[in-house]
């Protein structure tokens, strides 16, 4: 299980669920700068899409190694940003979207300053409105992922990453757990869909940062931290060795696919390593 190689014949699928509710308007410290949760989530999503495109770049251009879907949920609805189905990464790459040019200055130990420029395309724009229909997003994610698996039965299973502060308004705890379990039942021959939760909160206390908790690890004292923990997949063994070494564990344990206030770099870095399949590309 979880050893299918991602090739252009047997593509991978990555789906992002983006919380776009009113609470995402709250202030948030991200990459050392004050911003809003909505802006931080958009940056995480756009960086992830850009990174997948970068990793699919070959001599003759971007190769179709991945299909991508993005579902935004806010106000009264969950909405797929790229249409009803997963889109090929080459289609996403050729979409005309605004570019956010960012200038970053970093100082070296000798005092010298280096200027770096990032061109980040804006497939996902910051949105914060109304309620949090996470339940609707999970239903839509299940429908789209199941269709993808039917068309790609031999592929590595889809990876779904939910980025949220956890404040669902259209379903209670039990219903959200039931919906996430239904989502995690979606599978290819290579394994069940992997459901990751990235929990962001306005709490910038170091104690609120936690990645890949084990079953016995105390969760950060954050609202809804248990909900996102309970909804997330248990990471399959192929990730466990690497995460064990990152966490300083002698022997791998059962880790949950959830991060609290982790940076984009950390999330992306961790989900690619440890996987012979994913690391082929991502």
């Amino acid at each position: 299980m979880y050893n299918a190689h991602i090739t252009q014949q047997y593509k991978g699928a990555i789906m992002l669920l983006i919380d776009q509710s009113g609470s995402m308007d709250e202030e948030y410290l991200f990459n050392g700068q004050k911003t809003t949760k909505a802006r931080a989530v958009a940056t995480i999503a756009n960086t992830l899409i850009e990174e997948i495109i970068n990793r699919s770049q070959r001599r003759r251009g971007v190769g179709d190694y991945f299909d991508i879907a993005v579902i935004g949920y806010g106000g009264d609805e969950a909405k797929s940003l790229f249409g009803k189905r997963f889109r090929r990464i080459t289609d996403v790459d050729s979409m005309y979207v605004p570019i956010d040019n960012r200038h970053v200055v970093r100082q070296l130990p000798n005092g010298e300053c280096l200027n770096f420029f990032f061109e980040l395309r804006q497939w996902v724009t910051p949105v914060s409105k109304g309620r949090t229909p996470m339940g609707a997003a999970l239903r839509m994610a299940r429908t789209m992922s199941a269709a993808w698996c039917r068309n790609n039965p031999h592929s590595f299973p889809p990876i779904v990453i939910n980025i949220s502060d956890g404040e669902a308004t259209d379903a209670a705890y039990d219903e959200l757990i039931r919906l996430s379990n239904k989502l995690k039942e979606v599978a290819t021959e290579d394994g069940n869909l992997l459901f990751f939760n990235l929990h962001i909160t306005a709490n910038t206390d170091q104690a609120s940062v936690l990645k890949w908790p084990t079953i016995n690890e105390p969760l950060p004292y954050l609202r809804h931290s248990k909900l996102l923990y309970d909804m997330a997949s248990v990471l399959p063994p192929l990730y466990a060795n690497t995460i064990a070494s990152l966490k300083g564990h002698f022997t791998p344990q059962e880790y949950k696919a959830v991060c609290y206030n982790a940076s984009c770099d950390e999330l992306l870095g961790d989900i690619q390593i440890g996987s012979a399949s994913i690391s082929q590309i991502i």
Partner: protein, 288 residues
């Protein structure tokens, strides 16, 4: 560094106007017509086309620390072969912006190898229905395979995309991340499934290239008989999976080349589900 570095950070560093490399002199990235740096992603990192002191090079930027990468570079430097690029490894060389500061990552450089990939040349020959060219590629590949099998190392990921056809027609291997030699540290590279016997897994021995060599050579000879246009999209006539599963595409290819007894024996080995090793491969290649 705990986490692999993101490509967006590496690209930002490469395109920075500041001094982002510590030791490499005269470093200038190359750009495409859209103003983007010319780069390709690989298993271990990103490969950029750059000029170093006015000469074209490949700059490989590793997304994770590379003890094995360094060992491979040092190993190749001891060899005298024109079948592999000559690398130089730089530890903690390229400065990369991180969340709050700067990190340095390992890189290696290789003189740029002129030419197109074997994958490209196969497709071009098929498109032009140029059987003579396919036969020439098959012969050059056979020579390359013999050179590999008579060497103390194995490439570990033989496929047409990892082979450059030089302007003089000779073939050269690129992407040496999966290189095997008895003295090199172990790795968990498994090759590319389309070209690899599933039983090879993470086994590391002098037979890891056997199946891929036989598969590419049999494909090339089958294409001489039948330059099927599907190859332009698919890249080859039949895959490892199709050979092992007795797919009609493979059986057609076998019947086309079976008059050559060495090729017929190679095809038998390609359909052998029990082993990734091909006994007497050197002799078979000599007899093709």
């Amino acid at each position: 560094m705990l986490h692999p570095i993101l490509g967006v950070s590496i690209i930002s560093s490469i395109t920075s106007s500041g001094k982002v490399v510590k030791n490499i002199k005269g470093f200038v990235p190359k750009y495409n017509s859209q103003g983007q740096p010319k780069y390709y992603a690989g298993r271990k990192g990103f490969l950029f086309e750059v000029d170093i002191d006015g000469k074209q090079h490949a700059l490989k930027c590793y997304t994770q620390p590379q003890k094995r990468g360094e060992a491979i570079c040092n190993y190749i430097l001891q060899l005298s072969t024109d079948r592999l690029p000559t690398p130089t490894f730089y530890n903690q060389e390229l400065l990369i912006p991180t969340l709050m500061g700067v990190e340095s990552i390992d890189v290696s450089t290789y003189p740029w190898i002129e030419g197109k990939t074997l994958d490209f040349e196969i497709k071009r020959s098929v498109y032009n229905d140029n059987r003579e060219s396919l036969l020439r590629l098959a012969e050059e590949f056979r020579q390359l395979a013999l050179d590999i099998l008579n060497s103390p190392w194995r490439h570990g990921d033989i496929k047409p995309e990892n082979i450059i056809v030089r302007p003089n027609g000779k073939l050269c291997l690129v992407d040496v991340d999966a290189l095997w030699a008895p003295s090199l540290p172990p790795c968990n590279e498994v090759g590319t499934p389309t070209f690899t016997h599933p039983l090879r897994g993470t086994n590391r021995d002098e037979h890891i290239d056997d199946y891929s060599i036989a598969l590419v050579l049999a494909n090339l000879h089958a294409l001489v008989h039948n330059p099927a246009p599907e190859v332009i999209k698919k890249g080859l006539l039949f895959t490892a999976e199709e050979a092992l599963g007795g797919h009609p595409l493979f059986l057609d290819a076998v019947s086309a080349i079976a008059s050559n007894s060495a090729l017929a024996t190679l095809c038998e080995a390609l359909s052998n589900k029990d082993s990734y090793k091909i006994p007497n491969l050197i002799k078979l290649l000599c007899d093709v």
